[in-house]
Amino acid sequence: MSDVLANDLITPDAGVSPLLSQSDVSILKAAPIARLSFRAREAALANAGTAFGVPLPTQPLSSEIGAKRAALWMGPDEWTLLAPEEDLETLFETIETALGDQPHALVDISERSEAIIVSGEKAVWLLNTGIFVDFSIEEFPVGTVSRTIFHKSPVMIWRTGADTFVVEAWVSFMDYVSGLLVQSAQELTAA
């Protein structure tokens, strides 16, 4: 399944059975991952990117991926940095050392959210049951990342393939998000 993803970072959690498995759309829980919230002004970006291993994107709503790394644009001075769990501590140290006394904030937010992988030809249809965003490939190309609202829960949507989306929500909201998605998908089979 992970071969449909454009990166080697987000993988289905092997220990969890699929939340939804239909021919036209599936929902898989993603394996835990290290997440860092990085906030800084322009002067610190180059150093941070070098230390992280992937340049931090400055184009709104875009992402940069590299080997086992992803940098997601969250705002004009805010990024989410993704890496494997086992790299967390060394990565944190590396970035802190590289930045020295340059003003910045680096915070481990790994446990704040969980991710699911929504994939299939009906993935866009399914997300649009709760999100009022145009997910056409022209408006929301592969690599686009954005926070938005799914029904009443804040979520982060990251398109990693034409028909594949990573959906992150805060841990206590994830049952709500995935539950509503699974329920909405029943409409596809109800014919």
């Binding site: 709104p60 709503l61 004009p76 805010e78 009022f132 954005s146 926070r147 938005t148 804040p154």
Partner: protein, 101 residues
């Protein structure tokens, strides 16, 4: 539903991603200790509440998190302009005239 343009994200999004935070360009008195009670009340609570073209602060709270400003016609709900925080207030009469043609 209103579509709101975020000048930081560069996209129009549904209003549910945003929160409106009232009139824009209200400057906090530079020295609160020297400000009279009446002036402080004016700063805190008194707003022009225009019927027509009005400048507001909006926040892309469920997006990039940034505050920005918008010019909205409070009668028709038409947005006339969106601009980043810190940029000067546009000429409202000019905007109203342009929108009216």
């Amino acid at each position: 539903m209103l579509l709101v343009y975020c000048p930081y994200c560069g996209v129009s999004r549904p209003e549910t991603e945003f929160s409106c935070r009232g009139e824009a360009h209200i400057a906090r008195p530079a020295d609160p200790a020297q400000t009279s009670d009446e002036d402080w009340v004016n700063f805190l609570y008194m707003r022009s509440n225009t019927k027509g073209v009005y400048v507001e602060r909006w926040r892309h709270i469920h997006g990039c998190g940034r505050f920005f400003n918008a010019v909205r016609n409070t009668v028709s709900d038409d947005f006339l302009k969106f601009y980043k925080a810190g940029e000067p207030m546009p000429d409202l009469e000019e905007l109203a005239k342009e929108a009216g043609k």
